[in-house]
Symmetry: C2
Subunit: 379 residues, 2 copies
């Protein structure tokens, strides 16, 4: 992040016709986006583009959700037909919607609005071994980077994360444990609504996944960057984001953990975040799926964090753990637990409003408004 632009943004906020700090968390958003863009004021984040990455999960076989796996395919069709909540919220927010098949189990017919980048027909069962090969994880990361680049190339000034994948809160919780060191009992939630018995099974499945994939959670609270590995985790192929400064070992280990317990849409979302950061475009994160993907992205390229805005706080308990680890504050907190990008879409007008203030609001001097603190600043 550009510290000079952030300082300028803070100073500018203090000259605007409002009490200092009166816009609360939105002032921090504007400062953050100035730092990410390296400009004060930061550019208006319009137009924005939502990408919904869809994938299936081998762990579905463990009974971690009451929803049948084919709902992933059915919901992709619903997105393409414009009938999902994400479509309604995108219409309200004025953003485009792109659906990316990065790993749906079924073969999907070509359709307008569908980007076919299937890396695999779903992941393997993470409780039995790695969910993906390292090559698959890297391919999905590259897909996300490419989709971000395509959308930005087409004019998007803000990216919004979306996801669809029955059972993907299980993979998210496993990633959050793997990258924050928290226990599965803390990080695992009810997803789209599971009963007590299923929740217990889900926690046990995640615990087994971490064990069988040799992921230590005790004492790993630094994003896993302190851990070393001899294997080349695909680092040689991976185009990491702007200012990536993670060590080769940290990158290898992050990719290994992603492949072990992540999903294809999680990998693509991590790449999507890296792609946004590489172009200095802000990316609004949706809920727990995006939060877990952001942990991966930041482990690969710590500077990517500066480009992330946490859109909303999911009802999933792991999401708060992920955001705490990243040091992000969510803008919307309405007990949503839907995914698809819905929480991030709701946050988008808040982000736009925060930036608009920097462009359009008069200063005390220009508006002739008396500043109670005028004695405290000398500009």
């Amino acid at each position: 992040a550009d510290q000079e632009a952030m300082s300028q943004a803070r100073a500018h906020q203090d000259r605007l016709t409002k009490p200092r700090g009166a816009l609360g968390a939105l002032e921090e958003v504007a400062v953050r986006l100035a730092g990410a863009a390296g400009a004060c004021p930061p550019p208006l984040p319009a137009p924005a583009a939502l990408a919904i990455f869809a994938g299936d999960h081998g762990v579905h076989a463990q009974g971690v959700t009451p929803w049948p796996q084919e709902v992933t395919t059915q919901m992709v069709a619903n997105f393409l037909a414009g009938g999902a909540v994400a479509n309604a919220f995108a219409a309200q927010a004025g953003t485009s919607v792109t659906v990316v098949d990065v790993g749906v189990a079924a073969d999907l017919p070509e359709a307008p609005g569908l980007v076919s980048r299937k890396v695999a027909h779903g992941t393997a069962d993470l409780s039995q071994g790695p969910a993906m090969t390292v090559d698959q994880a890297v391919a999905a990361l590259e897909t996300g980077i490419a989709v971000a680049g395509d959308l930005i190339g087409a004019g998007a000034a803000c990216l919004i994360t979306g996801d669809m994948g029955i059972a993907n809160t299980t993979a998210s919780a496993a990633l959050i444990c793997a990258f924050t060191g928290h226990d599965p009992a803390l990080a695992t939630g009810r997803g789209t609504g599971v009963d007590d018995a299923t929740l217990d099974r889900k926690i046990a499945v995640i615990r087994r996944a971490l064990q069988i994939n040799d992921i230590q959670i005790n004492g790993i609270a630094d994003g896993g960057q302190g851990r070393t590995s001899d294997a080349d985790g695909g680092h040689g192929r991976l185009p990491v984001g702007a200012g990536g400064r993670a060590s080769d070992a940290a990158v290898s280990e992050a990719v290994r953990k992603l492949a072990a317990v992540g999903g294809l849409e999680h990998a693509a979302l991590a790449g999507f975040i890296l792609g946004a950061a590489a172009s200095r475009v802000p990316v609004i994160l949706d809920g727990v799926i995006a939060g877990s993907a952001a942990l991966v992205a930041v482990a690969l390229s710590p500077d990517a964090l500066a480009h992330c805005v946490a859109g909303h706080l999911s009802a999933e308990p792991g999401h708060a753990l992920a955001l705490d680890h990243l040091g992000l504050r969510a803008l919307v907190d309405l007990d949503l637990r839907l995914g698809e990008g819905t929480g991030a879409l709701l946050a988008y007008p808040l982000v736009s409003s925060a930036v608009r203030v920097m462009h359009e609001v008069a200063t005390f001097d220009s508006a002739g408004v008396t500043d109670k603190d005028v004695q405290n600043h000398d500009d």
Copy 2:
């Protein structure tokens, strides 16, 4: 509220292609608006209109704020020039902005966008006696009702409350004490940013105001509706909102308390809420000023509550007390403490999104998506 429309809205939410309850608080908003409108789905709340009611406060003389009183006038000019945060947020949200002089101390020149309905050149000092006469309070209430009617007549399908008045958090805290029974020490905050000594003075001023105006706070936690008065508090003149069912005595006492410790903009905002309710149009409440005005409106006409949506939670502690008393949950919670309607403007796209879902999202049946709970409903 129309219970049948609310039941229909709940049932419709459960047929949409999303897990039941997955939209959290937004589902409640959609149900609430269905009940308010008496229709399922409720109409889309567009276009929306912001009205900023401006007034000055005699209690300013007690040193309850570091801002000079003329900032009210200066900010009115800033609103009219389009330079305030409310203007930037209104532009982002796509709402109109109307500024109403209901009680600014200075005489304001005519200007496009300014509605001149000055009831008085500011209020009297509430710590020395009643801030307004009952006639003034009723005139300001009627102004708010009229402005609501004018905006709705011009096509507004949603009203948004705004306010400007240096020292108006003092009057708000006093109203909140008067209508909820809470002690001033709990209800009083730092407004636009006062130091400890000023906060202590502010609390003492409010305590004196309640005493000198014969407003009991101990044990009054029912909105004051149990209290009786022989005086006609203007009830004969007051066109209360749709379905008003408060007793004459309750109305008289509410108007007496409003006149005693309220502000002209608070009275106008209470009328604005009643006017929205009378036309069955939703009104999005901004922060602590609107919250205290809503207490007045609901005391005058309990059914007005069904038409209110709490836009945001202010940093002012009294606001949470007011919302608790009203049973409302705020949609945006970002530590804003600005007023002007800014928090409500941020909430407006969230409200629109909640209603849009009811119009645009496919059902499990229509989209061919498998419903895990299909065995639980019989439609």
